[in-house]
Every structure is written in C-alpha cells, then in structure tokens.
Symmetry: C2
Subunit: 452 residues, 2 copies
C-alpha cells in the first residue's frame, strides 16, 4: 500500500463499484473501520437477483426484491451512495471516473470493483430484441409484459397456427433462472390463467425449456438434476436437452441437436433468454489497465487474494471475476465481499492479512413450480416440499430489510392460497426492447448535454 | 331498441369500452342478466386512480392498485375481456373497431363507452416532457423516477444554484391529486430521505403547490379547504394560489398572478402536472358520429339517461362525459355504471326504464401527508387523523379483491411505522418521456405490420 493509505491525518478512502451482493456485503463489513466508503452504482437499488424470476412472472413487485441502496446504509454513516455510471479507471492516479449529470472523479486509497455480469448471446446480439434476458428489473418487467401480452394476443388470434405460436414459450438455458422461469410460466398457464380466458384454453400453452447441456441444472448432483427434470415434466414443461439455439427471430427459434443433425423450427412468439454470462465491460477495462487478462466470458483473472497484479490496492469480486472452482452465485460474492473487508481491516490495523480467499459451498437450491424445489445443503440432497420450505427460509433470511421479508412471506403465502398473481401489469413502456430504451436514453443525454 | 336487441334467439351483446370505475361496475352489474359482455381496454388492468400518487411516491407497488381485469371477472362467465385500442365506432352498423395485433370488428346490441379522461396542458403540449402528468401507471412510475433521480443528482450537484433547482419540486394543480402528491413529496424530503443522504440536507427541499384558483381543493367546503391548506403549510409545502403557469421548460417554470402582474421564474428541475382534464378522444369521435357536441374539455354531452341523441342503445359514462353538477370522481362513474346496467336490465325484461340518472354525493376526501386528511361525508366535515382513518377505511373497502386490500393495509401500516418507502426504484425505462415511449411503440407497430 502507498503512503497515502496509511497516512493517519485523514481517513482511508474505499471506493466500491457495484451495489450487488459483493459490493453491499463489503460495505457492510467495513462498518466499524475508520474508513470512508463510497458505493457507486448505476442504479439506486440493490437487486435480489435470485428472485428476479418471481417479478418476471407476477408474484412479487419490483420493490420487494430491490431495496434502495441508501436505505441499506441509512444507519451506516461511513458509507456514501453515489448513483452514476463508471466510465473508466485511472489506476495510477487512483481515480474512478463516473458520470451522471456531470463527469465525476472519485479518488480512492482502496478500490473494490464488484460490477457483476450480464447475459450473453454468444455473439448473436441481434437475438436480443426477440429473446429478452433476465438480469435487471427492467428485464423482468419486459419479460412479464411479453408473457402476459402473448396470452392476450392468443385470445384474439385469427388462425390456429397463430394461436399456437402465441401460446408457445421457449426458455433458453436450464440453469436455476431458466428452470424457475419455465416452471412459473407453466403454472401461470395451467392454474392462474385457466379460468380467466374465454377464447383459449391456457392449459394448452406449451412451455419449452432448452439447453445445449445434457441435463438441467448442470452444477447440481445427478440425483437432484433428475428430480428437477421429473418435476418440470410433471408441471408440463417440455424439457429439450442437448439442443442449441441456432437462430431466433420474432416468429420463433431454430434449434439443432448439439451432437449434430437437422435444424428444427419451433414457432414461438415468446422466446426468453436465460443462458450465457458475460462479465461487466469494466472487467476488460481493468484487465487492460493492469496488464492482466480475461477469460472467454470476459471475466477478470485476479490473484489469490482477489487483488490485481501490481495493484494490491485494487480488488475485484463477484461474477465479473474468473475463479476456478467458485460458482457465479450470490453466496460466492458475499463471501468475497467479507474477505476483502477483512484484508482491508488487517492492512489498516497492520495485522497479518488473512490467507488466500477460499470459497465455502453452503449449498445450492432451485425451486420448481409452486411448492417444490431441489437443494443441496452441506452435502445433504433434498427434494420436493421439504426442499421448498428450506429454500423459502434461506431466501427470506437473506432478503435485506425486515419489511421486505415480512411482505414477501405474506405475498408468497397469499399467492399459494389464492393461486393468483398480484403483479400482472403489461405496461406500454416495458414492451419496448432494451435497445429501444438504450437509444432513447442516449438521445436524451445528448440533448441535455447540448442544452446545459 | 332495434329488433336484434330483443331477438330471443341469441343473447343480447353488450360492449363496454374502458375498464375504469364506470366500465367495471357496469360489467359487474350485468352479471345476472342474459347478456354477453365484451369489455375492451387498451390496458390489461383496472386502475385504482385515487391511489396513483402513492405509487408515484413509492408507498405502494403498481400491482397493488391495478388488478388484472381478467382477475376481476374470473368468476363472471358472461364477461369476455379484450385488450386493444378502440380506433372508431360505426354507430349505424353497431360495430366497434379496435386493434391489437389485428384489426377487430366487435358487434354490439348495446354499447357503453367509459373511456375516461387524461390530463390537459391547456394547449401547451410542449410542456409534457418537462411536466409529466399523473393518469396512468406509466405516468406514476415516471413521476417516481423523476423525483428520486432529482435527489440523487442533488447529492452530486456542483453549485448551490444547481442543488437548489434540483431540490425544488413544483406541483401544478391543487386538486386532490396535486395536494396528495405535494404532501407526500414533502414527507419524502423531510422524513424518509433525511438520514439517507450525505452531501445534502433533504429537509431543505422546497415543495411548491401551484394553482390558478384562489384556494386548494376547490370542490370542498371552505372550512376544509382552509384546513387542508393549513396542514400542507405545516408539512412545509409552499402553497401558491392565484398563480398560473405561463411557461415550463427543463430548468423551471414561469409563473404569473392570475390577477395580472409580473411573471416570476421558479428554477426547478422537477415540475409535475396535476391540472387540467381532457376527455378521451373517443368522446369527440362519438359526438361526430351522433351529431351531438362536446364541451371545452372535450367531454361529450349526453341525454339525461346517459344515452346519445338518436342512439338510445349507446351510453357514455364517467369522466369523458359532461354532466352539470356531477364531479369527475370515481363515485360518479360507479353510480353511472350501475344506472346503465339497470336501464339495460329494464329494456331486456321489458320493465319501465329507471328515471333520469341522479348523482348522490356520498362525500369527498383527500389525504394530506402521513396521517391527516380532510373529508366531507354525508354533509359532515372532518379533519385531521379521524378523517384519515375514514379515508383509509373507505379506500380499502373499495380496493377490488381481498388480496389487494390486505396487502395495501399491511403496506400502509408498515410505511407509517418504519417511515420508509419500499417501492423506490429509478428505472432507466421510466425516465423516458411519454412522447419517447409513444414514438418507439409506434415504430415497433409499423415494423410488425410490415413484416407480418
């Protein structure tokens, strides 16, 4: 560490980029240290991403899984929240460049970058408008509007062919998000909507879950994978494995067996993308600045203590980092955030630094449908309703803020009892594609820069 | 009525345009009649508009005040819900033309048009991007994002002048929506956010409530108007009466006394529009088709039984209709919806039709801030906390669907106890203006028409 960092005449400045699981946990763990923390995020909220699929299918409201970052740090005076987009790093001068209304230069003594990942179309970005992904709340609103809009249009379809395409929902990617999304769409069609439509039988809707891998939930043990697949099929989901997307347009998806063979067309007006991970572009930026590299998914290679080579004062954590043996899950980011706070504490107090970061696998879980799940907790494999209740307990325990927890439980109970969904809005705005929104926002920015 | 209408060989067809208070209540009241009801709305949800300001200020989630129309009629088999935009009426052929994915022709025997109203900029539509209104959920999301975004930018302001403009919120229009909105912004600034910002004192925010009229809440009795104004001032709202907006741009608003005098500039980065009512364009369309007229606000003149001249089979109700002595409130639309159902029942059963529609004033209410309100209920004037509890009781009683009611109460209680707001999202999409969204949606439609 440089002299500045240990200069006792002013407090050590920690800048954290990203208010996800890693960034928030690091900031929380710095509470009792004599440091000034600045937490920068492009959004004003934290996002409990594992429950995003519940917003996308109308169970929870956006606010229930996305507390304001300021609220999380209301009682922690050494944290300042700054809403803005990070544009670049100057590792030599130890400055982060961010922009909101103005360009901002934020100086740091220690930098923690926890900017996460987004979905990747594996080089087929032109699929994006017709196969929206599931990473942000805007994404979830968009997916919800698309699903419900398809049922509305099916009610008005003029041919059987059109009706079938509107009632076919293809989810690409059979990881936890894809599995949970497909299960919830099946329940929406088979139970929630069945008494509400007149011209169509919503139970006839076809939900296809597609993955190039030979099984669902690849990181889970085989027994649980089989169980999950069985539960999905019981819900009426067509699980199509060993099959990859080769083209997607507004009328459907072309699918080819991974082992080779003929390309097949699935006519479908709703294709949802739950595959592929691409690290935040900030990972590449940091790699270039520090002379290290990224992997195929754009994830940064870091040292064993999660710092950059040559820059021990810069940490990178969470999904934007490549860590062999560590899965891209919330739990990993949380443990890394805590670890980094410990390293900073040791440096400030001049204790020996804690040893190399080691990930402790506390378990993995995924829900399937209404009250079923598969879970591996400390080596024990669980399925069915028991797994669901453990899933619910763990997620509620981690939901930040007591109000959110209480409400989410009330909402889940109500959803199970009433077999309905409360958040069933199709908003004109959320039917816009990500690209349309991005273009308009860029246009607004240009305008306001010109007039200011 | 024509022969068709009374032809017993098939059921009488009622088409209702608009799923607001009037349309929904009419459809519900037709439950036990041998009629087939088609309810057309451009949205898939009903909207409990009197609580829209709570969405705009982060108290309730959109889903809590907007149940899906299909859910409302889940148990009523004679109602079919159709999502689409009504483009025109053919009163001679008794056909409604609507469009979603396709052009649709919907035949009726009886037509009820209840398409409501939107806000009006009194001929200054160029103010729209800088002074968003409050009529739809998209509007409310936009207002919420703008308010919270202003506080975020104030945290980063580089001059005192910039900070002051960001912390000035001008609400134009001191009817119930304007009063409630101004009160909630004041509470947001003075209580909710005060511990969450570091670089600014949010309590210094200035909330201006502007109206050309000489008092707030013009339809209320004088005693209640004075009380409301007093409560608003106690919350720290600058109530500026007898003052009209003469220009609005992105940096502020020009204001002139109604009695004449000098124009004054209020630098403000957030101006919200809660003034002016403009009937749905369908009112003008109906007027042209039936040879009747509209008033200055574009509201249709109807006969005493709410039918159109020459077309006794066409009813128009709610905010799109000009009815001397009847205020533009939910209660009036509800009573009209019920009345029209009674007329239809009488015609079908060949009973004498009920006499001319007469509005019964059951009372008016408005909340001011956290737990205060003014109310006039059956002639009794109430103020303060008692009025608030009556307000809450009545609104909860009218919230459609038991689940919503239970949740809304839990949410309000929690909001009051925790002094926080759960729905505090700034979404990039919702920062787009109404016009930007409309243009992009139009562009999408054009594209899909070309490719289909």
């Amino acid at each position: 560490m440089g002299d500045k960092a240990l200069n006792p005449s002013r407090r050590h400045r920690v800048v954290i980029v990203g208010g996800g699981f890693g960034g928030v946990r690091a900031a929380k763990a710095l509470k009792r240290l004599p440091v000034d923390v600045t937490l920068i995020d492009r959004n004003n909220h934290h996002l409990f991403q594992p429950l995003l699929y519940q917003v996308a299918t109308g169970v929870l409201s956006p606010g229930q899984i996305a507390p304001a970052l300021r609220t999380l740090f209301r009682g922690q005076d050494n944290v300042r929240v700054l809403m803005g987009e990070v544009e670049r790093f100057d590792l030599e001068r130890r400055v982060v460049h961010a922009v909101a209304q103005h360009e901002m230069e934020i100086e740091y003594d220690t930098l923690i970058v926890a900017a996460g990942a987004t979905h990747s179309y594996f080089g087929n970005d032109d699929w994006a408008p017709d196969a929206p992904g599931m990473k942000t709340l805007d994404d979830a609103n968009r997916v919800r509007s698309r699903i419900l809009w398809a049922f509305e249009l099916a009610e008005q379809a003029q041919t059987q062919e059109e009706r079938d395409a509107l009632l076919t929902f293809v989810v690409v990617g059979a990881g936890p998000t894809g599995v949970e999304l497909a299960g919830q769409i099946a329940i929406l069609a088979r139970r929630v909507l069945k008494k509400e439509h007149r011209a169509i039988d919503t139970r006839a809707a076809r939900v296809v879950l597609l993955d190039a891998a030979p099984s669902v939930l690849p990181p889970f043990p085989e027994k649980l994978r089989d169980h999950a697949e069985h539960d999905l099929r019981k819900l009426g989901v067509d699980v199509e494995l060993g099959a990859m997307a080769v083209d997607i347009d507004e009328d459907g998806i072309d699918v080819r067996p991974t082992e080779g063979g003929e390309t097949r067309r699935i006519p479908a007006r709703t294709v949802l993308w739950a595959a592929g991970v691409q690290a935040s572009p900030l990972a590449t930026m940091l790699a270039e600045e520090s002379g290290t590299t990224t992997d195929r998914a754009g994830r940064l290679l870091v040292r064993h203590d999660l710092t950059l080579p040559v820059h021990p004062e810069v940490f990178a954590i969470g999904d934007m980092v490549s860590r062999p043996g560590v899965p891209g899950v919330a739990q990993a980011a949380i443990q890394e955030g805590k670890y980094v706070a410990k390293v900073i504490s040791a440096r400030i107090n001049q204790y020996p630094e804690p040893p190399t970061f080691a990930y402790k696998d506390k378990g993995t879980m995924a829900t399937i449908g209404r009250t079923r799940a598969v879970a591996k907790v400390r080596g024990v494999k669980l399925t069915g309703q028991l797994a669901y209740y453990i899933w619910a307990f763990v997620h509620v325990a981690y939901l930040v803020g007591w109000g959110n927890r209480f409400e989410a439980v009330a909402r889940w109970m109500w959803t199970i009892v009433a077999r309905n969904r409360r958040e069933r809005l199709i908003s004109p705005t959320s039917l816009l594609t990500e690209q349309q929104v991005a273009e308009e926002i860029e246009a607004s920015r240009e305008r306001s820069r010109v007039t200011v």
